[in-house]
Symmetry: C2
Amino acid sequence: MSRTAVGTAHPERSFMNIVLLSGGSGKRLWPLSNDIRSKQFIKIFKQQDGSYESMVQRVYRQIKKVDSDATVTIATSKTQVSAIHNQLGDNVGISVEPCRRDTFPAIALATAYLVDVLKIDPEESVVVCPVDPYVEDDYFEALKDLAEQADKGEANLVLMGIEPTYPSEKYGYIIPVSAEHTSMVSTFKEKPTEEVAREYIAQGALWNGGVFAYKLKYVMQRAHELIEFQDYQDLFEKYDTLTKISFDYAVVEHEEKIQVQRFSGEWKDLGTWNTLTEAMEETVIGKGTMNDACENVHILNEMDVPVLAMGLHDVVISASPEGILVSDKEQSSFIKPFVDKFEQQIMFAEKSWGSYKVIDVEESSMTIKVTLNAGNAMNYHSHKNRDEVWVVLSGTGKTIVDGYEQTVKAGDVITMNAGCRHTVIATTELKLIEVQLGESISVTDKQKFELEY
Amino acid sequence: MSRTAVGTAHPERSFMNIVLLSGGSGKRLWPLSNDIRSKQFIKIFKQQDGSYESMVQRVYRQIKKVDSDATVTIATSKTQVSAIHNQLGDNVGISVEPCRRDTFPAIALATAYLVDVLKIDPEESVVVCPVDPYVEDDYFEALKDLAEQADKGEANLVLMGIEPTYPSEKYGYIIPVSAEHTSMVSTFKEKPTEEVAREYIAQGALWNGGVFAYKLKYVMQRAHELIEFQDYQDLFEKYDTLTKISFDYAVVEHEEKIQVQRFSGEWKDLGTWNTLTEAMEETVIGKGTMNDACENVHILNEMDVPVLAMGLHDVVISASPEGILVSDKEQSSFIKPFVDKFEQQIMFAEKSWGSYKVIDVEESSMTIKVTLNAGNAMNYHSHKNRDEVWVVLSGTGKTIVDGYEQTVKAGDVITMNAGCRHTVIATTELKLIEVQLGESISVTDKQKFELEY
């Protein structure tokens, strides 16, 4: 890969810089999304080889197909880093937000990451795009066009304007000056009522999908105007002191020179079960059966036991260790307040070293199934208020308990009293049952240590 | 309790003998019923104190309310004995069928049990009744009337004829000679079409609810005519050699002297989710939430995680460790062939000593949560092809492993290699995690032993 084409007057870019914004917790797709697994990581799209890919895997694959040399950076919180590496491998760039501070600080940090860490020329352009659009390859071709337009420098921001297919109340609207493919922006409109949306569309308005391109130096300059910082590292370190502010409010509203490029290809926002199931190729993922009297029913089952659906119409059934949703598809968009009320611990999670699943909860115990990927280890850690027992189910590895090393295999049992430091290092994939015992079991009861060896 | 009233000419019986037929596996109420938990043991009826009772508990309570001295014997297979004792206590009589041989052998065995084991005078009458009708107290008053009528000896069999409320295709019909409260039976009709049922009802036909009374000596005589046996014990021992034959075919069809008594009280057969949910006082049992857009929705959730229902109409949602059913209520009656296809191990069960639940299944391991009731013990047993590990979660007790006794409490770990004999005896209620490890884990891999102590 050569970056020498950058900065030349070559009319067609051979590669692009892209920042994918990987957002919040996504309770709208409960029970498959939860506080630590966002919707973009749910594997729902069947591939030709029969396996499933997630939204983030699909988008990443599409980018690499359209532009194999693209520099892809994912701007996200640290809770998602493990899932991103597990799903995309270790070569993807990640700009980790130490905490959530809305889109302007996030975009400023990612921009600084490209300039200061990846050493990309500030004269280059970058495209910022949500991580979860459901789109075809032409969308990514359009992103390249956006970047090329930003390269020209006619405007400081170049937005993608999506041709509306219906008068949606869910999106903001962009009013262009002209009906040409590329136009200056006249004004922006907040999410309207359906009636008002109809008027906007009659005036030639476009949906604002939150996709835009700019030269790196432009946002760096805006960032320095609004935030006192030296470089990426400095910005990263003071990130938690920054004011929450959106990119729209901090930048877009104050910018005169904004262009919009029309995009008329397929574009779906898979934010609700209704829209998500529309994009699924199959009606059943996981163990599920439905009778002939079912119409427009989708089953997404992450549990080990079967789901049977009979005589249902326009219903989505989704089951995971977190819970079970059965919803009329239209109604599923009203899910959030109900899920907010569920006070439940996280029942499963992907970690950098593998995954865990809570399989039993009692008043003074919790039992967990842990899967460590080959070559991976937990942190070396201890707990103040609980004892633990490990029973190895399969695989081989090594445990370290208060400095004492021991190779382990299926059937081996390790007991750890409260306060003792412990870890397990997987040689092959290693599965174990962890029984936690104590009066006040909590995920926050954990002290990490450097390994002494 | 005195039995001296029996055999006198006293017109009103002070107590009755009743045999409850507790039938098969009941896949129609999957996933709450399974191969070893029949529908009559599901706890669905809310009581005044907030707890729930099962069909068998409700019927038993109602019998005792109407006739506190009633001799209740449950005719059932051995797979149900633990559940019956757990739900009804140890004082209930059980006539255990060593294997299933249809209703005539079952009724003959139960009758011999009453005569030979309970030593009840063969001149006394008994009422035979399914264990799972959903009825009010007047039904049990009617059972007493049946027994009194049988006492009179005007007929050899006295049936209950239920006044039909609609032209059902699900029941057989009894055509009485007259419209009087007690009448001789003219003839029986098999389950008809709706149209034919309408004709029967116009002729004064009654539903056959499978309830009848007879003098013990009558069925004993028929049994000896059809089966070569000495007494209860002999019949029990040769039970597996008996031919499968229904009571209708073996007895009723050959009997001329049959009376029927009308019953016009409430009577429901809770055989499907549709009829069962009609009898439920609440719409949600277990963790469940529904939004205002739901109408006529029932949630029965035996899992630890929440069920959320949105915008559904006329739907039953039922979840257990066996699986999840989501069905239109009418459609739920077609469930059986689908459930027959699920090839799944039993995921939870009530045992004489407590209960167990499978919480994780891997290729070469299975993890189970075991709850032992205070004072109870597993069988002393061993496995050929698997090692096991117990981790005690709560409670106190004693383990015996190859004769070695050890008191145990929360946090204790016991390891057992294949072949070693083991049991655990609970002092208080005791919960433990059992990890089974081996290439061919099977419920049939179990040898039982007498304890040597």
